[in-house]
Symmetry: D3
Subunit: 132 residues, 6 copies
């Protein structure tokens, strides 16, 4: 259970409610997810996060499904329960098939292993991007 | 510097050298990266890792460039110096443009933030995949 | 549920009970929190931890509320459910207002993001403390 | 060394240079730190980060020195080399004494330990904020 | 609850069921643990993991109980709920006494603390293995 | 390079020098490792850490070599450069063979992978220690 009292729609200030309306419209849902009702306890953070998520998740050089799968990779590496659930749900909605999900997790698992082996043996970087 | 004495090609056993030859051929390179020369100090691990990386990185439901970018996402979240360097180099080789790199990092940064906010407020999962 | 059978007050050895009494008195509570009942399964650890927490949380160059908020920052970065709950409760008891809580979390979230960006781009340290 | 070619001031676009000028003015410095020259490779991220850091680090319910020490706590918990250096330097500039630094690190160390003990024994949360 | 629909024994393909049979026989149990029923949603991963766990957990230079305790140390450091539970159960089955468990956790806690202090102060490595 | 000016033996207070003498005697070395010279900038932490390390690393239900290998497992999982170097050196001094080192790392790598898969799929714990 959240460590703060979440801000429900009908108790929200006009400022918060305006963001809530945008969230529901953008996501095509008729409720406010717990994450947003929680960060709304600090309105400047609610507004900042909502503005940033629209920027970073927009269709661009990477499409939104790829971005959602990267969110799963990050959340799995960090072990964030809320985020793993919500990003897996979102990725499926955007078209992630079971095969894609399986391959994603195999990649996430493998590189979490090699990350710790590289660190654990203090392997010195030798393969680097050529940045000149 | 590695915490073990890396296994150089000309000092390697036949078993290790056979894997080294496969690595150079598969990657189209003429040297053995430090990571592989390090894990070769424990030959069963060298063989296991080389077998697994071919499995998980193969072209499938996700293409190899996407998998390489997921490797960057994982490695950045874990702060693995060797891995960030080598996967960034590999992703560029496979076609990652500066725009794709920038968007990838913006997504990685954002979700590392929201992961910690979700955990830090103990937000209860409410948006979940429908698995039935 | 704990992976060990917690040590209840009325089943505790004299040695453990003496620490329990100090904990209840110091915290002004009439029960032993689960954390302490769990580490009491290894009495040398119980005594070590109780001694150390009094040392590190004492009023000093930093006041106890600041220290409690640093505990929240650490616990959120690590995603420790027990710790986030208990330190948030303790910080509120010591005077953390909702505004302070919101600003704390905004800072924690932001630097978790920039930490991963700095690592993820392998940015070389250039701004360092002058230690001479 | 950074995995991207950093954007130097005299090679920067007008858009990037405008942010660089603000950074130097706000920080009272006459160079652009590596972190900012690195994220400038993706201008929307540069602008987003600069806007957000001003928001979260502003004097408010918590003062800037406390916020800088929280940044150290987060960066130490994540092991981010760049960030630990830059935030330690910034905190000293804002008035962190050696005594404050020592106490901060003692708190950071202690709670990283208890976080792992709480998780490692799967201690069930019982001390929680009263959010009603 | 798992983010995928777990593969139950009586719904499993022949390929998956063959691994399930080996797991039950090797572990001397008559059910399939949730971890294996989950990764079975991606059969190549199920087979890869089952093959690897037999390799890495085999009696060798380190005995299986020590390996199980190392698994607890890793899982506690990562805060993985499933893994802490299952490896603690397995270690007890293999002979871990309460004293061994207590000492293990004290070591895990201590080095999680010193890890963060070493990083948090950016201590330069001076004690290194002599690898020549 | 450390973010604080390390305390050299000949500049140390009597209180710090007394601990330094104990460290050198206990470890059979004639210099003070950087870690200890760094934490000595906050003498209460130096004394606390030196007291605790003697407690947790003492020969007991687990022998010192096993404890040193657990320290490597923790440090590799956290990616702590200083700690990986110093604990690998210490474990070799205490008798860790290359075979033991290889098996240790294979176990550490594997469980870092399965930790992230368990979290990443939100697998519900079903195999738990029987604590009654």
């Amino acid at each position: 259970m959240s460590t703060v009292k979440m801000v429900e729609y009908n108790e929200a200030s006009d400022e918060v409610r305006a963001v809530y309306d945008e969230i529901m419209q953008a996501k095509g849902i008729d409720f406010i997810p717990n994450f947003w009702k929680t960060v709304a306890t600090h309105p400047p953070m609610l507004k900042q996060l909502w503005s940033e998520i629209q920027l970073v998740m927009a269709d661009g050089a990477l499409d939104p499904l790829i971005k959602e799968m990267i969110a799963i990779a990050v959340s799995a590496s960090n072990g964030c329960d809320y985020c793993i659930n919500s990003h897996t749900a979102a990725a499926i909605k955007k078209g992630m098939t079971p095969e894609m999900h399986g391959e994603l997790m195999a990649v996430v698992g493998f590189f979490n292993k090699t990350n710790k082996l590289s660190d654990g043996y203090q392997v010195e970087p030798d393969v680097k991007p050529n940045i000149d």
